[in-house]
Each structure stands twice: as structure tokens, then as C-alpha cells.
Symmetry: C2
Subunit: 123 residues, 2 copies
């Protein structure tokens, strides 16, 4: 496969000193919690253990001024979880950050791609 | 410490499918090889084992069309290592990618910072 045919994938972590960091793992989990309405199911969709998903949510809830995910007790879907307004804003800011960073990086990624070794098709 | 006072640090990995990936670890190692003239000393400066530094160099040498680091046999500094032209170009492209991506991400990082919880000064 020609190197230039490979669509590169970015993984961007932003570390805010002792405040903590945000990266693709946390953003993906927030998205899956929106989709599934549950921390456990959201984590499972990413191959994450129940414990790991809860730890990431607790870390994010402690990191931001308002919690990013809260439990929904009672109702038809008792025990579920939803993103707060802050949670939605954090996710939206991180995805916009990724988009703009990737776009700005494009010419440099192109230069790196021209230097990659071609991989035989395996035929 | 107020959240807005924390200069955020980016860690950007670019994954070129099965060709491999480049990120801050490999870029830092290339820089330290330039500085020290040696793979072992370069890795040591980053708290990396001799084995790990060599593995990263071998991975990069296989990933790009030309090797990024070559050994300098004989001479006053026998057993040293230098970056090839490709190695210098890869490092330069990755650093430029980081710079431009971080600049494009600034407004979004600012939005995330305003949402961070303040950390007491520890007094």
C-alpha cells in the first residue's frame, strides 16, 4: 500500500498541569455515554472495563468546575447517566480542537507521508 | 493556582496505519541523539533504557524510506550515531506540525481552561 494512501489518525492529549488531561479516550467515553445513556455500557462499547470507565468519569468530574457526567436515578432508565452542560461543552471543545489542529497539521503530515516506506501489498 | 495560569502541554501522535506512528517520544529521542551524538546517551537523557532507545530507532528506521539514524563507526567518537537528512526532515516536520496544531487549537484550549476547577494553592 502506498504511504500516501493511508489516512493518518491523530491522537491529541492536552495536559493542564496538575489539573489533569483530556485526550481521545475521555472524549470517546463521553460520546458513548451520550449514545448509550450509561457509563458501563459506554465503556463496554470501547472495550473498557466497568471500573476503568467509572475512574475516567470520576477523574473528569474532579477536573472540571462542574461535573461532566451525572447519574439519573429512578425513572424508566434508573441507574443511567447523562452529560451535563459542562460535559457537552468539554466534548464539543475537544472535538473542535482536534478538527482545527488536524487541519493545521495537514501540510506537515503530507511531508511525513512522502517519507514513509511503502509496504508491499502482501500478495 | 488558577486554571488559566496553567500553560497546557500538547502530546500529539500521528498514526499512519500499519506504517507506524510518530509522537513526542520519538521526536524527543531524535533531538537527544543530535545533542549527545549517541542513541544510548540520548535515551538516557530521557530516562529511557538502552533497549528502549534502540527499539525506537529501529522502528523509525523501518518506518521511513531511508533510515533516520545511522551509526558512526570509527573516528574520535567511534560508536556514535547521527541523524540522516531524512531524520532531520522527519524531526523538523513533526515539530512544525506540533507548533501549527497547537496554535490552531488555542481558542479551544482557552474554552477548556475556563471550565477547569481551581486548585487550592496548597497553603
Amino acid at each position: 500500500m502506498s504511504a500516501s494512501q493511508v489516512p493518518p489518525k491523530f491522537r491529541i492529549r492536552v495536559v493542564f498541569g496538575s489539573h489533569g488531561m483530556i485526550g481521545p479516550g475521555k472524549a470517546d467515553l463521553l460520546e458513548q455515554i451520550i449514545r448509550t445513556g450509561s457509563i458501563a455500557a459506554g465503556g463496554r462499547a470501547l472495550g473498557m472495563s466497568y471500573k476503568r470507565a467509572w475512574q475516567l468519569v470520576e477523574t473528569m468530574n474532579a477536573m472540571f468546575e462542574e461535573p461532566v457526567v451525572v447519574g439519573t436515578r429512578g425513572g424508566a432508565k434508573g441507574g443511567g447517566a447523562v452529560l451535563t452542560q459542562t460535559g457537552n461543552r468539554v466534548l464539543e471543545a475537544y472535538r473542535a480542537l482536534e478538527r482545527d489542529a488536524e487541519k493545521a497539521a495537514e501540510p506537515h503530515v503530507g511531508r511525513l507521508q512522502t517519507m514513509l516506506r511503502d509496504i508491499p501489498d502482501g500478495k
